[in-house]
Symmetry: C2
Subunit: 480 residues, 2 copies
């Protein structure tokens, strides 16, 4: 769908909401199907009151004075897609923006280094959830992709990607069935760390008539998933090879938290420890007569060390294409450094409170789990402004190094757990002329790229200060 | 669309991805439209290399070995919708689940208290983005709804809701035009705190031929948006009434951070201060000859105090329907308390690391800006288990009051800014028999309901331990 078409749909919807919705079946039709009043998750100490107001709510809700709700009408979520050629400064905000030339340089740099190390690159799609980005990576030499959940893989299969590793355990009947069905279409693999997972995979692949690759997940120090002894790994290997439709392809040895250690010495040391465990596990499995062709793991923060330790055959990095404030806070001393290509375009929408401005991008436009975003100016982190606090749809921007409280208003505390603030406080006598005026577009580098991508339906691709393309973030929200 | 239909679409897609996608136009067709190599946001110190590999990437990406990507195909995002009647324990996870009977009790309780205070209730839809919930609120007596962004209002207009206040400033040509168009369909209003906003609204409403309500936004202590002096408010009022198609309806006086102060005395004191400022502003505007019929503001944490201070004519609360771990951390001493109705259903997907289990809901299934979720058991916060850390798609669950490091694995630090951890650390000699086994469904009460709703396309509505309905979170992602 072109952005022109999307704009047309927008106008039509705004002017004729009833007719737009009339062809969609009611999503509320079953809301009175159950008349029971007991609350499944409620404490038994608080029984539901049997008032007539309560019992008639569902009936009222499906009354005739409202129109049926379309189920996630796709034309609505595409309303603001900019037309190709739009000046990047005119993109309606908030919007997730990719500088394509920078992203390409990052993709080339990682592929070159990985190939030079004699290792395969299987970039992680959980970072972006966007098949168009995977295509760039595959075109450059990646052997396939990783996904973190079964549903996440579906849009990538639909986009024609033929080799996907689910770098995670999968538990749940519907998920396992879907995985087995996907494996009948494309080359798929998955991780296990428990015999029950293998049993479920074996049954589902027989039903689907598919062959599925299996990796034994090894805990190399993160202490999240994965087995920690050779005895456990051998026991799982025995169960896997008992099923001819399950192919034991090797081990996964991923250390997620090591990616974010700031010191390169720490990352190298931890990566070395992980590689040592992984190498011993692989050797032990082979000595016990099991195949272990692939040792997969590693990430943007550890890749250069993973290459050097010479154990991994495949690297799962993802964030290197984009960078984020957290990854940029690592110290890099080697050649494998990357540039910021991903930004949230925001707009100054209030300048009423002295000593600050407010932008229109908050908690619903970025994930702050790894910290607040950086303001991006002139190709680098701003030396003048800081994003000082986020609430649902607002971001407070203040001059950097401001040291005192605002001179306007009352003495109420401004901090709260309902809004996330940095340690920077507001200035008393800032020169407001140095703050950007109402309507200014402000670029933000997100704190954590992966969950930020997961908030957007599309990626605005920019080249030469213009919108060059709009790519669907097709796996957005696909977390099961 | 019923869940049965969604399931059919699922099977079809998995088996025939190419045919599913073939009718969608390519989203990549314009990716080579711009051949310029300069990077709009890049530092000039890092020019783009002019290698042939780089310049041919776009061409390779639109090559013939991949199928076109459907633009957010709606049948994919609905894959896992459970059928009506499914046992709640069998819901595929992660899923956002609403206990309907509890939600109804909360809706009734707030409406009863608001009506008893002689105040109007205009519940905030930014909390849930789900028109079906607004319908329940309107059926119970709400006068309309609030939205925080223009795009957020669109699915509610499409759902037949006829009175919407945008409780925020709106800056941006496309947004303002859309707002003016919506105002020709339903009763709309918006906030201003700057003359330029009024100018833009005046032009757009003339073009659209619509009438738009306008509220002057007052800073009552939060120091986010809003003017702080009567002179500023009067100046804005003069500009507004100069345009007959703009209706000055009153003032907005919202103190967001006060909603989350733990002490009821603090909330009461801050609410009293906000009410005093709001009352003086309203009186001053009226004395200057301007209308000020409505004073809107307040929220779940302050409503009981806002009623008592007698200044607000309209309350904007939203979270009261659901509660979350943050709101539940407030201390409530009055009658206006609410029960948890909103949960994330998750599943134990790894039990391999001693002393903990891992669930399949992480940063992409909940917002952790206001803290990690609570584990919910037997109608209350678990006294046995705690959600100790989140990464993108994982949550680590440990016994409560565990005090020592895990006995397995290496000595690497487990904390990192790439994963969010609580202060609880792992146990040394926990009895693993007390931990839930693989496949167990675990309910989580999210830390912050608003941005958590924004991660899901649908709400699974449960009554009597069964799925009673599936409601679209139709404004999910609508942040412009």
């Amino acid at each position: 769908m072109t952005s022109t078409t999307a704009s047309s749909a927008s106008s039509e919807l705004a002017l004729s909401p009833a007719s737009s919705a009339s062809s969609a079946p009611s999503a509320s039709s079953a809301s009175s199907a159950s008349s029971a009043s007991s609350a499944s998750y409620a404490s038994s100490a608080t029984p539901a009151p049997a008032t007539s107001a309560s019992s008639s709510l569902a009936a009222k809700a499906s009354g005739t004075n409202t129109q049926p709700v379309p189920v996630n009408p796709p034309h609505i979520s595409l309303l603001e897609a900019p037309e190709i050629g739009t000046a990047s400064a005119a993109i309606e905000t908030p919007a997730l923006v990719l500088d394509l030339d920078i992203a390409r340089r990052n993709i080339e740099r990682m592929q070159r280094a990985t190939s030079a190390a004699g290792v395969k690159l299987r970039p992680h799609a959980k970072a972006h959830k966007c098949p168009d980005i995977s295509r760039l990576q595959l075109a450059e030499g990646a052997v396939g992709i990783c996904c973190q959940k079964v549903s996440e893989a579906i849009p990538f299969v639909a986009a024609g990607i033929r080799d996907i590793h689910i770098s995670n355990e999968v538990v749940g009947a519907q998920k396992v069935r879907q995985l087995a069905e996907l494996a009948s279409e494309v080359r798929m693999s998955v991780c296990v760390d428990d015999p029950m997972q293998i049993d479920a995979l074996a049954v589902a692949t027989v039903v689907a008539g598919s062959t599925l690759g299996v990796f034994i997940d090894i805990d190399v120090g993160q202490h999240r998933c994965g087995v920690s002894t050779l005895e456990q790994a051998v026991a799982l290997a025995k169960l896997i090879v008992a099923h001819p439709q399950l192919e034991l392809r090797g081990i996964q040895a991923y250390h997620g938290s090591n990616q974010h250690q700031r010191s390169p010495e720490e990352r190298n040391r931890t990566a070395g420890h992980a590689a040592k465990i992984a190498g011993e596990m692989a050797q032990g499995l082979r000595a016990a007569g099991f195949p272990c062709d692939t040792i997969t793991g590693g990430g943007t923060g550890s890749a250069e060390f993973d290459f050097a330790h010479g154990v991994y055959t495949e690297i799962q990095a993802g964030s290197y294409v984009f960078m984020d404030a957290d990854y940029a806070s690592n110290i890099y001393t080697g050649e494998l450094t990357f540039e910021h290509s991903l930004f949230i375009a925001s707009t100054v929408m209030s300048v009423a409170v002295q000593g600050q401005v407010v932008v229109d991008a908050g908690l619903k436009s970025m994930s702050v789990d790894s910290g607040l975003p950086w303001i991006w100016e002139q190709g680098q982190r701003s030396i003048a402004l800081t994003y000082a606090g986020a609430s649902d749809e607002h971001g407070v921007v203040r001059p950097l190094n401001a040291e005192q409280a605002p001179s306007t208003g009352s003495t109420e505390p401004t901090g709260s757990s309902g809004s996330t603030t940095s340690s920077a406080s507001a200035p008393a006598s800032v020169d407001d002329r140095s703050l950007p005026p109402l309507g200014t577009q402000i670029l933000l580098a997100p704190g954590h790229c992966d969950p930020t991508f997961n908030l957007y339906d599309r990626l605005i691709v920019v080249q030469d200060e213009r919108v060059a393309d709009v790519w669907p973030i097709a796996a957005r929200g696909m977390s099961w």
